[in-house]
């Protein structure tokens, strides 16, 4: 028997996230009005700051790149019913992988060899950092949420230890590595555009954005077109059915966490290879955690994740602008708005399902009645 509050798919995928977003914005507007600013004006500043001002779109897309990677990571794990909270640590370790390859080979290898190698290393180390909790879950029954959180701390500690010690640039006081040579950096989009005669404003947006979009295609193919994806989804929906089918559940869990960790690790290529050109402390700055909200809002589908990443990218960039334009709206205020959006689209994601289902059922019934009267 069907559940009493089934929504049609278009409403579930399209309408509900929009309603959630709207609710979050309304509540944010009330908060903004409460501190004495005009919510509509603030909204306009945010939109302009994210899309209209010179170079702002580039910034928005640059942030979105991070969210696409971490969002995909959470989504892939979620298809196997694993809740990967460790995107932050996996991305951090991914940065180490990419950075180490660059530090070792940037004087010997050409960019065309070095960059793919660095990307593979980023994904590889991220994968290891995801696979270990995956192994512990699959073989020892240690809960993935707990272990991935702990692995975030482990990762952070390792990075501090390395950056303050072995990897610290000689003769330097700050905990960061030396800057890579030019052949170890991913080209900026504005550089490429300018080279082919397109006038594009400077921004940190770089080639990783393209890699992120390719990763979206890859994840879609993996989940819905491959035998492995079939096994992942079967395991996620029903471990008992997977067991019955002869799918090795523990193997699938470990592989899934490796892929998830690898995707999170690739976030580092945007930051390390694209922007910083060295390993710095805390370059992940919470993107790994925001990825959870992105995946939730994007319903674990690559297309949804791209849209949700754009939204969060716009919030980050527009929020910075908001902070800049209004003296009363501080960085914390912007965080609050982001928090509200995460709350409404994540924690309360299904709050509007019932009322909406009832409303749709009422409309449908009304339509049927009018049809009956006219027919």
């Amino acid at each position: 028997m069907s559940a009493p509050h089934d929504l049609p798919r278009w409403a579930d995928v399209g309408l509900i996230p929009l309603i959630n977003l709207l609710a979050a914005l309304v509540v944010s507007g009330i908060v903004v009005a409460f501190i004495g600013e005009n919510p509509i004006e603030a909204m306009m500043v945010m939109i302009k700051g994210a899309f209209v001002y010179k170079g702002s779109l580039g910034y928005t897309l640059y942030y979105a790149t991070n969210f696409i990677f971490t969002g995909l990571a959470v989504a892939v794990a979620f298809h196997a019913m694993l809740f990967n909270i460790g995107g932050e640590g996996q991305a951090y370790l991914g940065g180490l992988g990419a950075g180490l390859v660059c530090l070792m080979f940037d004087s010997v290898l050409p960019a065309i060899v070095l960059l793919p190698l660095a990307i593979i290393a980023a994904a590889g180390l991220g994968a290891v950092w995801g696979a270990v909790p995956g192994y512990l879950q699959a073989k020892r029954g240690s809960h993935i949420v707990i272990t991935t959180i702990m692995f975030n701390f482990l990762g952070a500690s390792i990075m501090v230890w390395l950056l303050a010690g072995a990897l610290k640039a000689p003769g330097q006081m700050s905990p960061e590595t030396r800057v890579f040579s030019d052949n170890a950096t991913l080209p900026f989009i504005h550089e490429i555009a300018n080279a082919i005669g397109w006038e594009v404003a400077r921004s940190p947006l770089n080639l990783s954005f393209v890699v992120a979009l390719l990763a979206c295609v890859g994840v879609w193919v993996l989940i819905w077109r491959s035998r492995l994806g079939y096994a992942i989804r079967a395991t996620g929906h029903s471990a008992k059915a997977a067991e019955y089918a002869g799918i090795s559940v523990s193997r699938v869990l470990i592989i899934t966490m490796a892929i998830s960790g690898g995707l999170a690790g690739m976030m580092a290529i945007n930051e390390i290879l694209g922007v910083q050109h060295r390993i710095v402390l805390n370059f992940t700055s919470g993107y790994g955690f925001t990825g959870i909200a992105v995946a939730l809002m994007g319903r674990n589908h690559p297309v949804g994740i791209i849209l949700a990443s754009l939204l969060f990218g716009a919030l980050y960039q527009g929020g910075a602008e908001l902070d800049f334009e209004f003296s009363t709206i501080t960085r914390e205020m912007v965080l609050l708005i982001q928090g509200l959006i995460i709350l409404f689209s994540g924690g309360l994601a299904y709050m509007f399902n019932k009322p909406l289902a009832r409303l749709l059922a009422m409309i449908l019934r009304g339509k049927r009645q009018t049809e009956a009267q006219h027919g």
Binding site: S2, A241, A245
Partner: protein, 527 residues
């Protein structure tokens, strides 16, 4: 068994305990209850029979306050009553015994009955009062249970009594029982019916929901038949017959007997030798199971559910490795040291229709096309290399849907949205089309409508003629008796005996299932 019905007809003069009129309930596009009306005479045992998905459960859920009807009226003892939650129902004297018991396993009987009715701060006073009330109830209705036993130590038949006591303790004068006999042996069922008769003597109204015709005939005074969300007939039980009810349920004539000519078995396919399975609890362990299954024969395993049948299927299909001993499939030995997972066993020609189709047999959110390759997703004909081809899956699924009459024939439809019978056909289509040497079948027709039962039984017999060895595990004795060439009985993890098709009758099987007076047929069962 049928009680002569002494109550006068002319029901208009009799007081009605339940009077439902024109109940409607929609779930989205599904019209689960369509203008349903039902009159239950006070102090009668009233049966509601219908196939799965006919709307029986929805109707009693409305009566018990789990759902609210879209329209229609409910009168309890002649008084119009809105019932919006189960507290309303309980206040109106309605009690319900669910199919799956709602008991706390590590509480005593007394604690379970009291739960939610402790009243006041001191539990010992409440326990004293409850004990007195319960002792009176037990005496009145012949519901003997030791109030200080822990629930998990009680057999299911007694657990069910506790559920009935719980309802009576809360003042139920109308008792709803939803498929109460699914977990009982024939003897336990008989005892349940004695209790129901005692309840009727004391003026309690009983509403019995079931899909078993035999039970309706054995115990009820009146019967209502539901089909596709509608009430299609009301009958006095003594005025109707099983074939008439079956026809009303399905909407066409039904053949309840399967055509079954003697088997001509070939060589041994499955030889089980001293198979043991240790399990942490006492339940679910297997002890020294030995038997042989030959090509072209159906062996049925009878037993009350929870006596090791599920574990036996899990071991034989490779899901759980045996602890000791093992089994041969076409001469290949599988044991703890030489285990084989379900994928390997599939390659050896072992197909498995699992007992729990929702948990194992299909993946509910998968499309039919995806569920119909579960276990065969690595097979080369579903795509190339690492990839699955949606077009191939679609074609493959369409072909099987046609061959096995799966409705609606839409490969994209989510598996969970098919009816129980059609879900089971998806599983059967998958396993039979693999052309197995050995087919393991658990509960072939659980939650499946009569029309589909007929079809499934025919398929199994046809497969037997094709030379497949078939092992059927079922809690439905009728099914075991009509399908099997030989019947083995399990009790407490052991094979307690075996009977040939001709020797088997319900009484003998029932006693063996209960572990009492099993004739020594063990020599016959082993190799």
């Amino acid at each position: 068994m049928a009680q002569p019905n002494e109550k006068p007809s002319g029901e208009t003069s009799l007081p009605l305990a339940i009077d439902l009129s024109n109940i409607n309930k929609r779930f989205g596009d599904v019209h689960a209850n369509k203008d349903v009306s039902l009159q239950v005479v006070s102090g009668h045992i009233h049966g509601i029979i219908g196939e799965n998905g006919a709307g029986k459960s929805t109707l009693v859920s409305i009566l018990y306050g789990f759902y609210t009807a879209d329209s229609g009226s409910i009168k309890i003892n002649g008084v119009a009553t809105p019932i919006v939650n189960s507290a309303d129902a309980i206040a109106r004297g309605i009690g319900m015994v669910h199919q799956h018991f709602m008991l706390v396993p590590n509480f005593t009987v007394l604690e379970n009955v009291m739960l939610g009715h402790e009243g006041g701060l001191r539990i010992d006073v409440a326990a004293q009062n409850a004990r007195q009330t319960l002792e009176k109830l037990s005496a009145d209705f012949g519901l003997d249970v030791d109030l200080d036993m822990i629930i998990e130590d009680l057999p299911v038949g007694l657990q069910q009594r506790v559920e009935i006591l719980k309802a009576l303790f809360r003042g139920a004068e109308i008792l709803i029982l939803d498929e109460p006999t699914g977990v009982l042996t024939p003897q336990e069922t008989e005892r349940l019916f004695d209790v129901l008769r005692a309840l009727r003597e004391q003026g309690v109204t009983v509403l019995l929901i079931t899909h078993k015709l035999k039970e309706i005939m054995a115990i009820t005074d009146d019967v209502s038949v539901m089909r596709a969300g509608q009430m299609v007939a009301h009958r006095k039980t003594f005025e109707t017959s099983p074939p008439e009810l079956a026809e009303l349920m399905v909407g066409r004539k039904v053949v309840l007997k399967v055509d079954h000519s003697p088997a001509s078995p070939g060589g041994d396919v499955l030889v089980v030798a001293d198979l043991c399975l240790n399990s942490p609890g006492s339940a679910g362990a297997l002890k020294d199971i030995s038997f042989t299954l030959r090509a072209g024969e159906i062996v049925g395993i009878a037993g009350v559910s929870g006596n090791g049948q599920s574990e036996l299927l899990d071991v034989l299909s490779g899901i759980t490795p045996p602890s000791r001993g093992g089994f041969y499939i076409d001469g290949r030995y599988i044991s703890r040291k030489t285990p084989a997972n379900p994928a390997i066993l599939r390659d050896l020609g072992v197909a498995h229709v699992p007992e729990d189709r929702h948990k194992r047999g299909i993946v509910l959110p998968f499309s039919a096309a995806e569920s119909i390759i579960l276990g065969y997703s690595a097979a080369s004909d579903e795509g190339e290399g690492w990839w699955l081809s949606p077009e191939t899956l679609d074609t493959h699924c369409r072909r099987l849907m046609q061959d096995f009459d799966i409705r609606p024939p839409n490969p994209k439809l989510v598996s969970g949205n098919f009816s129980g019978g059609n879900q089971q056909k998806i599983v059967l289509a998958r396993e039979i089309s693999a052309q197995p040497r050995l087919l393991l079948v658990g509960q072939p027709t659980r939650g499946v409508d009569i029309g589909a039962i007929e079809f499934i039984h025919k398929q199994l017999i046809a497969l037997r003629y094709a030379g497949c060895a078939i092992l059927v595990v079922s809690v439905e004795l009728d099914e075991i008796m009509s399908l099997s060439d030989r019947i083995l009985v399990m009790n407490n993890g052991q094979l307690v005996g075996g009977l040939t098709r001709d020797e088997a009758d319900e009484r003998r099987l029932g006693l063996m299932m209960a572990g009492i007076g099993a004739d020594d047929h063990s020599i016959w069962a082993s190799r």
